[in-house]
Amino acid sequence: MSSSTPTNRESGTDTQGNRRGRLKVFLGYAAGVGKTFRMLEEGQRLKRQGIDAVVGYFEPHDRKNTIARSEGLEVVPRRKLSYRGSSFEEMDTAAILQRHPSVCLVDEMAHTNVPGSERPKRWEDIHVLLDAGINVYTTLNVQHLESLNDQVFQISGIRVRETVPDWVVKQADEVVMVDATTGALLNRLKRGEVYDPEKAQRAVENFFKESTLAALRELALRQTARELELREEEISQASESSRAEQPIGAQTQDRILIHLTADPSTAMLIRRGRRVADFMGAECFAVFVSPHPDLASLPKEEREAVEKHLNLARNLHIETRVLEGGDAAETLVDFARRNQVTQIVLARPRYGWLSRLPGGNFPLKVIRKATDMRVVIVAERRQTH
């Protein structure tokens, strides 16, 4: 089992001695809080200090104040692509690599590139820049963090489609909160400073409700505090382990096992498991128990769902296993025990008539067998929105 999530913040140089670029993320809770403005402002300051900072991509959204802030900064022209008869503009990563500035400002980290682009996601383009030793400043809203997807849905009633895996943000050297009060944000929206009137009207009906915004703001503040805490912990751990004779195993390490199934609730379970593991500094892995020796013999629909979930887990840097076993509860608990798991995480089932049959209640079966570890039955949070 590998450790929870590899980070390379402290690694600095690769084997060839090239320095990896530093990543700074401006985190906000909605469009219009001032992330882009702040990023450009810092770009201007760098330029004044004589640092070679350029704009790799920025979305003006017709915002007067933001556009004014970009004046005087060099902009690398965008790349034009056509897709299904329409033309699109994307960041020109190759051109930025060629220009090779010291710092590159890249708006909207969660953006999905138009099909036909070299890489599907903008955060992947950002990684290419970092690998080339270019420092990157970027912007992100808290609702685009993969592990918060369910919580955001619960708060806003909106399923955010464009997400960024948490480890990508964890690798950032700095996460800075760009704050604005919900009142100020709603005023900006009313004055037409965020969107055009038609889009603003739709926004007020969806994301831009005062209670939704306040909850997202709280989420962003807590997330930034948490990111900061993680970095501090890492630093203090690094300085502790550099001190000689650290007793091995002195710290009880939590190990979390997620039970992966074809059920749609598994996606939520994986994100929750990842989040809890991150908070506890625990190792995390996911297991699917298959009644057949290989996945290929599963019915097509089930196989596809399981594969989708295995991929989601891997994307979130969770180690996955497929085990064969006729009795899922027994196979799961055996595996957990052999691997010193401290917590098994299950989804709360949809209770139907089957669960009333003897032995038909899966969580209860696991609880009865796993008397020596914690069993967490995770419920889909009620949509409070």
């Binding site: 009142g183 209670s211 900061l228 506890m280 209770y351």
Partner: protein
């Protein structure tokens, strides 16, 4: 909150709201830019807001400034009208009568936590601000969290110092209509100020500032949480929000209460949430069991848990009813070690709990 029944506000809630509205009608509004240290960029953000408001046609006046500014701040300040401060010896203080005569819509004050020199009408600058608010002038001000009385102990734990100027406990809670946190990496604020040249001293200072930074973010999150609660209440909605984790530990004489409570507290701390402990009253407890129960509840109390004793024929139902009232997100229960009938009884309780705990996690603890 489509699924939540809309509760009518109680008469006293209406009254409190009406009084609040009446007070706000005549009073100026206070907006505070909260930062964790000097050099995070509070002044720039605040003056820039002043500039934007002025460009939108609001009558904005600056009446409290710091002696020195970096060029980008000075540039913004140049575009604003400034009412000069009084100078008494070395100390500068706000010319409150002049500001009231000028009566702008908005007064911008950089640095809320100053003491006025002896002989001034008000001993503290926050009292000047109160006077301006009373006069119907809105105030936009910056403050460093290190000067908040409410955080005094935590600040001292982090910095090892007690700070001289203090904003009293209730001032921001009662007056600040809006709080914005101004965030920046610790190293950046250090490099803008007087950073120690020595590497080890710099790292230590960075660590200290990072802790203050985290504190500022959490203070702001707490303020937003309370505002959200007020908003939901004033709109007749009950609190059932999922941003904050609320953990309920079910205590029985038999369960491994101490380790559950400790784990619950760690969890609550990690998620910056709240901890509750409850037990369901049972008939005919032995004297020994009663003593253990008392001990467990005392321990819960000591760990900062809100404790509660519940009544109900079905323990699972009593627990769930309480959990729903408090907006609990996780219920901790202990595993039963006993065999036979007791175990079957326990199993059916757990089963009932899991089945009915829609929207709430159930965590079963080993012994």
């Amino acid at each position: 909150m489509v699924n939540e029944p809309h509760r009518r506000p109680k008469p006293e809630e209406f009254l409190a709201q009406a009084e609040q509205e009446e007070r706000l009608k005549h009073r100026g509004r206070l907006k505070v830019f909260l930062g964790y240290a000097s050099g995070v960029g509070k002044s720039f953000q605040m003056f820039d807001e002043g500039r934007r408001r002025r460009e939108r046609g609001e009558d904005v006046v600056v009446c409290g400034v710091q002696p020195q500014y970096p060029p980008e701040v000075a540039a913004v300040l140049q575009r604003l009208e400034v009412i000069p401060t009084w100078k008494i010896g070395e100390a500068e203080c706000i010319d409150v009568p002049a500001v009231i005569r000028r009566h702008p819509q908005v007064a911008v004050i950089d640095g809320l936590a100053y003491d006025n020199p002896p002989g001034s009408p008000n001993a503290h600058r926050w009292q000047d601000v109160e006077q301006l608010l009373e006069a119907g002038i809105s105030v936009v001000a910056s403050v460093n969290i290190q000067y908040l009385e409410r955080l005094h102990d935590e600040i001292e734990r982090i910095t090892g110092k007690r700070t001289p100027y203090i904003i009293p406990r209730g001032f921001l809670d009662n007056n600040a209509d809006e709080i914005v946190v101004v965030d920046a990496p610790a190293m950046e604020s250090l490099l803008r100020g007087a950073a120690p040249a020595d590497r080890a001293a710099l790292a230590a200072e960075e660590h200290k500032l990072s802790q203050l930074r985290e504190l500022a973010l959490l203070v702001a999150a707490g303020v937003v949480d309370r505002q959200l609660e007020r908003y939901l209440r004033s709109h007749g909605m009950d609190q059932s929000w999922g941003v904050q984790e609320r953990i309920l530990v079910c205590v029985t004489p038999r369960s491994n209460a101490a380790s559950m409570l400790e784990s619950g507290r760690r969890n609550a701390e990690r998620f910056h949430g709240e901890l509750y402990a409850a037990y369901v009253q049972q008939p005919a407890l032995s004297r020994k069991d009663r003593a253990i129960l008392r001990q467990n509840l005392a321990y819960a109390h000591q760990l900062g848990a809100h404790t509660e004793s519940l009544r109900g024929l079905q323990p699972a139902d009593a627990i769930l009813k309480f959990a729903r009232e408090k907006g609990i997100t996780q219920i901790f229960v202990g595993h039963s070690l006993r065999e036979g009938a007791w175990r079957r009884l326990w199993s059916s309780m757990i089963d009932r709990l899991i089945r009915s705990a829609e929207g709430i996690d159930v965590v079963v603890y080993p012994h």
